[in-house]
């Protein structure tokens, strides 16, 4: 029993390897991209539209609404990054209903990669919104004494993002694996349903936290509030 899909290696050449995490990620990417392409191939701009288009529109507009609710005034600028975070994590969780599937988010490498992306995206959007100087000043708010603490906070929350998602996703897979060996049939199904719920909640939490961090970084001339880590 593998703790992480990273350990399932299909092909290796030196440091380069092709493990289950990457393969399932590619599979998810293909499914997401192809289904999106298929659905958006014949988009209707009239009042009549297909059910799939309707579904995609609901998803996209809901994400936009959530981003705006958190406090970002121009949600479309952040839709690519935050929406993809949510959709990827959610799709990774949804895939657990397929037997033999191992969620890529169950790998610390993936969650770390996502957390690092957020870690990079926060200053990226912050500098884009307020300019380099202003953004850097926010690390010294309210006083320069707070600079080390702000930096520690930045790193720790990135770590927390990665560990939180990894823990939740990994635990779901682990619990199902353990229960499957103990009590077959009924109980694992219930746990799978619970795992789905947990996965969706984690996808929401991950993307909302990323949004909050970005919103804090892009807020102009305001002392950056220290978002406390949630679990």
């Amino acid at each position: 029993m593998n703790l992480s899909p990273d350990e399932v290696v299909y092909w290796q050449y030196g440091v380069i390897n092709l493990n289950a995490t990457i393969v399932f990620t590619w599979a998810l990417m293909i499914v997401l991209a192809v289904s999106a392409k298929l659905i958006t191939r014949r988009l209707s701009t009239s009042l009549q539209r297909s059910r799939w288009q309707n579904l995609l529109e609901i998803i996209v507009t809901s994400i936009l609404q959530q981003i705006e609710d958190v406090g970002l005034n121009e949600p479309r600028k952040y839709l690519d990054f935050l929406g993809t975070l949510f959709l990827f994590v959610a799709a990774a969780s949804l895939g657990t209903v397929i037997p033999g599937y191992q969620p890529p988010t169950g790998s610390l490498s993936t969650t770390a990669a996502l957390a690092l992306s957020v870690f990079a995206a926060v200053p990226f959007f912050g500098i884009k919104a307020q300019g380099f100087g202003n953004y850097m000043k926010s690390y010294m708010a309210p006083t320069f004494i707070m600079l080390p603490f702000n930096i520690i906070s930045e790193i720790s929350r990135t770590l927390a993002l990665a560990i939180r998602l990894f823990g939740n996703m990994m635990s779901g897979g682990m619990i199902i694996g353990i229960l499957l060996s103990l009590t077959p049939f009924l109980f694992p199904i219930v746990m799978t349903v619970l795992g789905l719920l947990t996965g969706m909640v984690q996808a929401y939490i991950f993307s909302i936290l990323a949004t909050v961090y970005i919103a804090a970084a892009t807020r102009v001339r305001k002392p950056a509030p220290q978002p406390e880590a949630a679990s």
Partner: protein, 276 residues
Amino acid sequence: MAIDWFTIVAQAFNFLILMWLLKYFLYQPILNAIDEREKLIATKLGDADLKMVEAQKEKDEFKQKREEIDQKRADLFRQATEEANVLRQRLIDEARQAAEALSAKRQVTLRNEERDLHQAIRSRTQMEVFDIARKVLADLATASLEERLGEVFTRRLREMDDQTRAGLAEIVKTAAEPVLIRSAFDLPAEQRATIQNALNITFSAEVRVRFETAPDLIGGVELIANGQKVAWSIADYLTSLERGIEALLQEKSKPVAKADAKSEKTEKSETAAKTP
């Protein structure tokens, strides 16, 4: 549980690729579609608003026009009614006037006819009466009667009052033509002589006399000198009588007509005005 740095990098790269893929296959098309639809809806709503405004405007216009038409129709109807009433009143008045005029005319015509008839009857009666009288007297008149008449005439000459005699003598003396003695029958020579004699004595002068026979006198003798006349004849009497009756009738029919014919008749018969 180790962190595989290659996997982390690969996953980050994968994430970037997925971001790009979803951006071009999902977000952009979907957002574009939503935007276009919203634009379409906004356009349609705008059009609908515009149409609504136009419809309201047209509705108002039509309402106003309808009210105008109603008003006009009511006005026209009222006007027509008034005109009809006036016309009816006028026609009734005209008809009444015409009827009254006709009635009055008919009455006048009736009265005139009645009057004419009366007059005709009167004239006819008068004429008949005098004709009969003339005829009877003409039948009775003879030469001997004529002689008697001559005698009466000479006596009248003699018995003439002085004033008349003086006036007549003046006329007889100054007359250029001889005095005309008219009688119904031829007077015998001795009668003529008697009259000549009587005249000479009456006017104490030689009077030139011309004798003439006039059957229309019926009976009697007339003396005409320079327009003046001394007469004693039946015709003279009858004329007097006729004139008297005419005057009487004229008085009676005065309020109705002027009796023109009668006055003409009166003028015609104004021959024996003077009675000695």
